[in-house]
């Protein structure tokens, strides 16, 4: 206990940092959210979420974020599992191959998806060459979901892979020694032990996709209005920082609520920690 006290001072610079660069700016936003142009106290900026347009875009955002998260989870878990079971030496190399795409600018990569998905794009050219009907996907909500899955998939793969690599092989061996087949081992041992990874993966994908606006700008063609777009427009084109701040606070509360629900599911002692 004694040495516990001694090294905790290492966190002090960070505590100060958090205070100045995280907490303090939040009060700025909160200040804007509960005042109007003239600086008078008001709750109008918070109630504005009840506006049908905002509710609609919030609902759309939740849908898109939810679908994105589910698709990411379904795609990522097998990847993490396969990587984990891979019997080759340079595993870390393969893992980095998932982060590597991020080294090419994110906006350029999303623009490249435009080339792939557009009416006369690469995908449709391939489809018609094979004799299949072409698809109209660019500038729809599906393109936005695809873009988000593309963008956030690594955030799902990495935490799950990390969680899996923490499971000791002994446990798995013990399970099979005790007569469990592959499926039972998976559902009774691997899956529960990787729960932390799954939960942080879900958070890491759900939260940014809930508030993202660049992907929907580039792949939604201005036809898909997410809550992130609304907030962005309030801060830029509509020049209404008060409403923008109010909506941001609402979004934050919304995110915190869903985190609360996730934490209820997650009964581990690490509750409250992401990644």
């Amino acid at each position: 206990m004694n040495n516990k006290m001694r090294t905790s001072f290492l966190a002090w610079p960070y505590a100060l940092w958090v205070l100045i660069c995280t907490i303090f700016p939040l009060f700025y936003i909160l200040g804007y959210a509960i005042t109007n142009d003239a600086g008078k106290l008001t709750f109008a900026n918070l109630i504005v979420i009840a506006d049908p347009v905002h509710l609609k875009s919030l609902w759309l955002s939740v849908q898109v974020a939810f679908i994105t998260t589910v698709i990411c989870l379904v795609m990522a878990y097998p990847v993490a599992l396969i990587l984990h079971n891979l019997k080759i030496r340079n595993k870390s190399f393969i893992v980095f191959l998932f982060i590597l795409p991020m080294w090419m600018n994110f906006m350029l990569r999303i623009l490249a998806w435009q080339n792939i998905l557009s009416n006369n794009g690469i995908l449709n050219n391939i489809l018609s060459a094979v004799g299949l009907p072409t698809v109209h996907i660019l500038y729809t909500k599906y393109a936005v979901i695809l873009g988000m899955v593309y963008d956030f998939l690594p955030y799902m793969i990495l935490p799950i892979y990390n969680a899996l690599s923490k499971i000791s092989d002994d446990v798995i061996e013990a399970a099979s020694d005790l007569g469990a087949n592959w499926w039972t081992t998976f559902t009774k041992v691997t899956l529960p032990l990787s729960k932390d990874g799954i939960i942080s993966g879900i958070i890491m994908v759900f939260v940014p996709s809930l508030s993202s606006f660049v992907v929907s700008n580039l792949l939604g063609g201005g036809k898909v209005l997410l809550i992130g777009n609304v907030i962005e427009q309030e801060f830029t084109s509509a020049r209404d920082w008060n409403t923008g701040s109010g909506l941001s606070i609402i979004l934050m509360v919304f995110v915190l609520l869903s985190m609360g629900i996730m934490n209820k599911v997650d009964d581990s002692e690490n509750g409250g920690m992401l990644l």
Binding site: L16, L60, Q114, N119, N120, L138, Y139, G221, Q233
Partner: protein, 355 residues
């Protein structure tokens, strides 16, 4: 322990914040030979910028923005003291109404005489008595279409944007004022109307158009047209000229109901700290060489009369770049909205996007 920690943090905060703000004040002082310029993205030939720095010895901090609204947000954020800004007509009017502009000393501008008096006259719409602005480029809003897919007759009216035959092949302009301009012109209303019934009507028409629209685009419009992903697009004349350079099937027209004429101009905002340098900058932009180089890069209509001497017949006859008198007569300039109308149209625009 906790109390100690908290008190320590509080003390440190008290020490550091004033210190930080103090150093902030110090770094605010800028030397005289710099100039902070704010302009649309890719709205200047890079060599002109370099040449200006070389000729005048002024160091330019060059900032770019994407849309008029971005510019306003950037300026209003107050985080950077811009010296000279280029933006569009109605935004200049808004800023003028807010008292954000500083008059230009036209006597110090040696090359201001190069600017077309007709454009200066047109500028009076947003800059009465012409005190604050120097025109930079101008152009129109119209329809860029693919002659292989659409005939000239169809695009002679804005009606074609509602044509179900072109479902998912029509690109609408992603700009609030320009998008509302289309139905307002079709109905024969004033594009600067403040009548809520007329605006509502325009809104309903735009909603029904959304089903036909492939996307709402601004910057990527010409790419979309070059690749023939779309059959027609509402866009600025410069974007159209750009697209036509790459795909010979493209053509541009301003429908018979008329469109929008816009003028981008230089002005000096209240935040200006280097007025003399700003004047040098504006004057430089009016010079024959700089204006010609910029024109050949930007490809919008230039108000600079000397440029015409350097261009061949074909370019000057290009109606996409230089709108004809008849076209200009059909086009109106935007006027700044009052706060109420601005809020109302922003609300409608948001509704349209969520529709």
């Amino acid at each position: 322990m906790k109390k100690k920690l908290i008190s320590l943090i509080c003390c440190l905060t008290l020490v550091i914040l004033p210190a930080a703000s103090f150093t902030g004040c110090k770094s605010d002082a800028q030397s005289d030979d710099t100039l902070i310029v704010l302009n649309y993205g890719k709205y200047i030939e890079a060599d002109v910028l370099k040449q200006f720095e070389k000729d005048t010895g002024i160091k330019v901090k060059y900032e770019e923005y994407e849309s008029v609204e971005d510019m306003y947000a950037k300026y209003k954020a107050g985080s950077i003291n811009y010296d000279v800004i280029c933006t569009s007509d109605y935004m200049i009017e808004t800023l003028r109404n807010e008292g954000e502009l500083i008059p230009i000393d036209y006597n110090s501008l040696e090359y201001y005489k190069n600017i077309d008096p007709e454009i200066i006259e047109a500028s009076e719409a947003f800059d009465p008595n012409h005190k604050y602005t120097v025109p930079y480029f101008f152009g129109t809003v119209g329809i860029l279409y693919n002659t292989k897919m659409v005939d000239e007759e169809t695009v002679s009216s804005w009606n074609c944007l509602w044509d179900e035959n072109y479902k998912n092949r029509v690109v609408m302009i992603n700009s609030q004022r320009d998008a509302f301009m289309v139905p307002l012109k079709m109905k024969g209303y004033d594009i600067n109307t403040r009548d809520k019934n007329e605006l509502d009507e325009a809104f309903d028409m735009l909603c029904s158009q959304k089903g036909v629209a492939y996307a709402y685009l601004m910057d990527e419009t010409y790419e979309c047209m070059i690749s023939e992903d779309a059959a027609m697009a509402v866009c600025y004349s410069g974007e159209a000229a750009m697209g036509m350079e790459y795909n010979e099937n493209l053509a541009y027209t301003v429908p018979k109901e008329g469109g929008n004429l816009w003028i981008d101009s230089w002005f000096v905002p209240r935040t200006c700290k280097h007025y003399d340098a700003a004047m040098k900058w504006i004057d430089y932009m009016c010079q024959e060489d700089a204006a010609t180089q910029n024109f050949e890069y930007v490809w919008y209509a230039t108000p600079n009369l000397t440029v015409a001497q350097n261009e061949d017949e074909e370019t000057l006859a290009d109606e996409t770049v230089f709108p004809t008198k008849e076209t200009l007569e059909r086009c109106d300039l935007f006027k700044a909205y009052d706060d109420e109308t601005l809020d109302y149209t922003s609300e409608l625009w948001k509704k349209l996007k969520a529709y």
